[in-house]
Amino acid sequence: MQLAATSGEWLCGDGPCSDIVISSRARLARNVAGFPFVGKASDEQRAQIISQVNEVLNAPIDNRRTSSLDLTELSELDRQFLMERQLISRELARGDGPRGVVISEGERHSVMINEEDHLRIQVLQSGFSLDDCWQECDALDNRIESGIPFSFHPQLGYLTACPTNVGTGLRVSVMLHLPALRMTREIQKVHQSAQKIKLAVRGLYGEGSQALGDFYQVSNQLTLGKTERQLITEVREVVQRIVEWERKGRRHFFESNESRLLDLVSRAWGTLTSARSITSEETMHLLSSVRMGLQMDLLDGRDASLVNELFIRTQPAHLQHTYGEALPPERRNIVRASWLQKRLEENRGDNYEPR
């Protein structure tokens, strides 16, 4: 897959609050009028929906060329690769029957077809940029709607297979890196303040997934009874507060226990650059400390964008893509360790000196 060569723009590590916010995302759930929802649609109907969407999204989005992938033609490894890259959901990766995804160059836009709903329109950006994400998602939605009529109910809004998405069909989420809050156990505070206004806090790959590498996703749960702007504002305000807490947590950690913090970060760097076999869980855990160390200028290494990229590239499907063939887990751990060593050595900077 040609995607393996490039990297999603959302991983570039810039954008507002990029010391703590990895990426922002807006996603709209839509169903094509006149077709049963995905669960009750025949394979032919599902194929018809795919070709209608492909037709509308044939031309570039924001001057970015699009490519359309047929999920049934992809290997399990390729599907997992797209999932690790946040371009498709677990449900689409593991589902069956005709389904697809249209991705724009730079991986900024992705439109999943025949997931839980006929369409899941997604815009993903680096850093804290919910408004930009929404504007682009809104525009893409308008463009698709100009060619395909969507199911809409005068009272209930956009109709979705599951009533939890009905109304706006909008889910906005922000991926945060919160190592200090996890270490000081203040992450509970995050859960509580989010819950109070009905926001969800989840791990890296959505519902039920663990907070691997101290990554947390904050998103709205309600989709009905509020405008898109209101939903975005609620998520933005909570995320702003969490970002402040994390910054304060890092400062406090540094001021109260500098030597322990330096030890933690240096050990993480040491293990990553000298291990001979390493699981993706351990890699995530150690990269989390290194990322925090880089953001706090505790390691005179390179910018955090490398670390953002390593988080994704050391995941099982990405690693095997880089290596060029499927590997059993044991071999994967060995390949991962040697690859990490190489990448970190290359990028450590000329005057690298652990403090």
């Binding site: 169903n31 009028a33 006149g34 077709f35 049963p36 929802f37 669960g39 009750k40 025949s42 032919e44 109907q45 839980e116 809104d138 939605d141 308008n142 709607e145 100009s146 009529p149 969507f150 199911s151 809409f152 109910h153 005068p154 009272q155 209930l156 809004g157 956009y158 109709l159 297979a161 599951c162 009533p163 939890t164 009905v166 109304g167 706006t168 909008l170 009905k198 309600l222 989709t223 009905l224 009874g225 509020k226 405008t227 898109e228």
Partner: protein
């Protein structure tokens, strides 16, 4: 996997009660079970009666509606099981049952956000499209290609009609 009766999330709390000589199963998700059944203020005995009456209330509401969508054949019971509706018309067909559920999930039942820029396809046109498509499917299965072709043209006509008209139907 059973879905929560109050909000359609995956249920983790299951009780079976005998109601009107029938065993009735109640499924709730974690947060609904906590929110709905817990009452920390009252003493233990009171909590127990309280809990029983709340369960009774849930059970009496569960005199399951036998409603079936004429367009896609989904029953409300089926939706209770898997949390997914079958087609857009289900929202009209099961509206009475869905409104309290939407109130639990979203604390609201009216959309105030974005609306489609162009024609909103009304429920009648939607139902007609679904019906025509289903007839077309059947014709194909029965290898009645002549009927299938006629139906295909009818679908295309209806689609064109709906797309060309810029005035909202509702």
């Amino acid at each position: 996997m059973k879905k929560c009766r109050r909000c359609t999330k995956t249920a983790t709390f299951h009780v079976t009660e005998i109601h009107a000589e029938k065993a009735v199963a109640i499924h709730l998700c974690d947060s609904c079970a906590r929110e709905y059944l817990e009452n920390n203020d009252s003493p233990a005995t009171e909590t127990l009666t309280d809990l029983t009456s709340k369960l009774d209330q849930l059970i009496s509401q569960s005199a399951e509606s036998e409603a079936t969508c004429p367009d896609c054949g989904t029953t409300f019971g089926e939706f209770r099981e898997n949390g997914r509706l079958g087609c857009a018309h289900d929202y009209t067909e099961f509206l009475a049952e869905l409104l309290p559920l939407l109130e639990n999930i979203h604390e609201d039942t009216s959309h105030i956000g974005k609306r489609p820029m162009r024609t909103i396809i009304g429920p009648e046109e939607q139902a007609m499209l679904v019906q025509l498509r289903r007839q077309q499917q059947r014709a194909i299965l029965e290898e009645d290609y002549e009927t299938a072709a006629t139906l295909r043209d009818q679908i295309a006509d209806l689609e064109r009609q709906l797309q060309g008209d810029d005035t909202p139907l509702h």
